[in-house]
Symmetry: C2
Subunit: 407 residues, 2 copies
Amino acid sequence: MSYSCVGYMVVSRKEKFYSLQCSQCGILQDHSKGVSLCVDCKAPPDIFYSKPASLDFSQFRDVRLANYFPGLWSMWDVLPLHDPSNIVSLGEGGTPCIPLKNIGNKLGLKDLWAKLEYLNPTGSFKDRGTTVMLSAAKEFGLTRLVEDSSGNAGSSFASYASRGQLDASVFIPEHAPNAKRLQISFYGADVYPTSGTRDDVAQSAVDYAAENGLYYSSHNISPYFIEGTKTVAYELMLWSGNRPIDHMIFPVGNGSLIIGCWKGFKEVKESRNYDDAQPVTFPKLHAVQSHACNPIVSCWRGTQWDVSQVSNGIAGGIMVGTPPRGFQVLQVLEDTSGSAVSVSDGDIGTWQKLLAEEEGLFVEPTSAAAFAGLELLVADRTISKSDLTVVPITGFGLKDTKNLDVG
Amino acid sequence: MSYSCVGYMVVSRKEKFYSLQCSQCGILQDHSKGVSLCVDCKAPPDIFYSKPASLDFSQFRDVRLANYFPGLWSMWDVLPLHDPSNIVSLGEGGTPCIPLKNIGNKLGLKDLWAKLEYLNPTGSFKDRGTTVMLSAAKEFGLTRLVEDSSGNAGSSFASYASRGQLDASVFIPEHAPNAKRLQISFYGADVYPTSGTRDDVAQSAVDYAAENGLYYSSHNISPYFIEGTKTVAYELMLWSGNRPIDHMIFPVGNGSLIIGCWKGFKEVKESRNYDDAQPVTFPKLHAVQSHACNPIVSCWRGTQWDVSQVSNGIAGGIMVGTPPRGFQVLQVLEDTSGSAVSVSDGDIGTWQKLLAEEEGLFVEPTSAAAFAGLELLVADRTISKSDLTVVPITGFGLKDTKNLDVG
C-alpha cells in the first residue's frame, strides 16, 4: 500500500490487526453494520489490537507524512485504519500546549499548562474522534450516517461528513446554542432539533437510523472515536519528554476524552518502543462535572444519583445524564488514582471570565468547568504546588455565547 | 541569554541587529514611543536586519524549543526580539495546510491547498502579527496600548494584551459583527465603537492615544506585525520541500498577510542557509478585494478610485478604503508577477457555502473572498490545472455570522 504526497511516496509501515470487543464482557462484535451496545451487558465496544500498538516517536518528525496528514494522522501506526486513501482529515491534532502562569500564580501552581484542543478544525476536541470515526465509516463503504450531539460533536460530524462526501443527519437538543446549530446546518447536514432529555435525543437518532436503514454512528459509543481522542496522550508524552505529567483535568460528559487519553497512555506504556530503563509515572486523570448533572461524581463519591436530577446548566457539553461509557470513566479514575469533583454554574462562569482576562483564552463554559474543578483539587491538596498539571481546553468560546455577560 | 524550559535549557543562538526604516525613503525611525508614519513620505516603517535573517530549517524539529514556544516562536532566529522572556505567546503558528480535492475538482485544479490560518488562538491569522507586536511592546517596557480594528485584529490584540498583562483600548467600527465585539470585550479590553468610515475609526484611535499619552500600536502600520505574518512563508517553504508553490491567493484589506509572506519568501531567498544549487521558484502572490471596496485592484488596473466609493460589503476584514501599506501590496504584486481581482458579495457568499458543503470548512466571508478570486484567476488562465496553489483561510466562520442564510 502506498500513496502519493507532495513530491514523495509514503509507504504504510506495517500491517495492523484489531478486533472490536465489548468493553465489559469481551465478546467480539461486528461494527460494519452500525455502532451498537453489547447484546448481553449493554456496554459499548472497544478496539483491541492483537499486538500492542506501538509508535516510533521519531516518525513525528517525518516531514513527508506530516505534510500530507499533519497532526493526528502522522500517528498512523497506532490508528485503526488499513488504507490511507480512506482518511477523512482536516488537519486535526498537533495542538499547542501552553503555560498558564497568570492563572497558575492565582492558584499557587508553578507548572500549569493548557492543551489547546479548541484549535482543532471545527473548534473543539471532537475532531480527533470524528476523523477516525468517519475514516473508518469510509473504509466500511458507508455513505449515509446518523449522529446525535449536544452541539460540538454534531458540528464536527457534519464538517467531516461534508469533507468526506458523506450524507449526515444530526439530532440535537432543541435548546442547543444557536452558534452550534448554525454551524451544523451550514455544513449541509440535516439537523433534527429534538425535545426531551439528552438521552431522548440519542434514542431519536437510534430510532431514525433503524427506521431508515441508515448507519448510526454515535461518538458516545463508537470505539473509533476513542481511538482518535487517545492521540492527545501520545502528543503529551512527546511534549513532556522526560518530565512526567502529574495531573490532567477533564470536563466529563460522555467521557470520550478522558477515556481516550488513558487508552493512549496505556498503549505507550505497553509499547515495545517505550524505554523501560526510564520508569515514567503516568498522570492522575481527574473528572469534573456540573452540579446540574453529575452522575459520575455521584457514583465515585457513593452519593445517590438519578437521571431525574438533571437540571439546566451552562456547560452544555457535559449535560449527560446516562453516559454509556460512564463505568469506563470510573475505571480510569481508579486506575490512575484520579478523582471526580462537581462544580457550580457560578464558578464555571467565573473561570470562563478569568481565563479570558488573565490568559487571553476565550473558552466555552464546558472548558471553564475543568478549571473550577482544578481550584477544588488544589484546595483539598489533591494537587500540590510543584505538580505538572495539564488541562485540555475542549471548545472555543464563540461556540456557546448565550450565557455571556459581556458588560 | 538563556531561559528555562520544561526540563531543558535553551540558549539564544545569535545576536540580532535590526533597525526601523521608512518603507519608502529609508529614513531611520524610533519605534519605542509609538508606531508612526514617516514624517516626510507618510509611509509606515519596516524592519531591516543588518545581516540577512536566516533560519536553519532543522531547528523546526528542535522539540525542546518547540515545546515551550510551539509554532511561530520556534523561528526565534528570524524574529525581532532580543529577550525570550518578553514573548507574549498563545501557541500561534504551525497551522496545518490541507488539500482541497473537492473544490479543486470543481475548479479543474489538481493541486489546491488551504493553509488553515483560522486555527490560530483567537480564530484568525492576526495572532501571528499580534504576538510579535505585543512582545516587542513588552520589550520596550510599554504597559498601555491603543489599537483600531474591524474586528479580528481587535480580538487578537485584546487577547494577547490580557495574556501579557497589558492594558488595551480597542476602537472598532460601530457596525462590526457582534461576535467580534463580544470577543474583544470579554478579554477585558476597553472597547470604543466608533461611527464613520474605517479610516475615521483609525483616526479616533490615534487621537485618543495622543490625548492620553498612550502608545498607539496599530497592526496596520506596525513593522512588528509584518514580522509575525512573514512566518507563514517560512512554514510553507518547509512544507512544500522541493516542490515550488506556484500561486498564493490572499484576501487583501490592509495587506499585512500578503506583505508579510513576501518578506518571508525574500528572506528565505537571501538566507545563507538557502541552497543555491537547487533553484526554487517563489510563488506569484495575488490580491483579492471586494467590489464594495477595492482601492488596490483599482490602482493595479489603472481604473479610477476614490474612498467615497466604499459601500457596505459582507467581507468586513477587507473593507479598508485607504490602506497605509497599499503601495507595498502593489509592489508585491509586481515583484512576484501576481495580480489583483475584485469580487462581488454574491460570489463571496456562494464560496462561503461551497467551502462548508464541499470541504467541511466553515470560514468567514473575508476568507471566502479569496476563493471567489481564485475562480476568476482560473477562468482567465492566470492559474492552470497543475499549478500548486495555496490559499490561506484567514478567519473562522463563527467570527462573523450576521450575513449567513442557514436555511
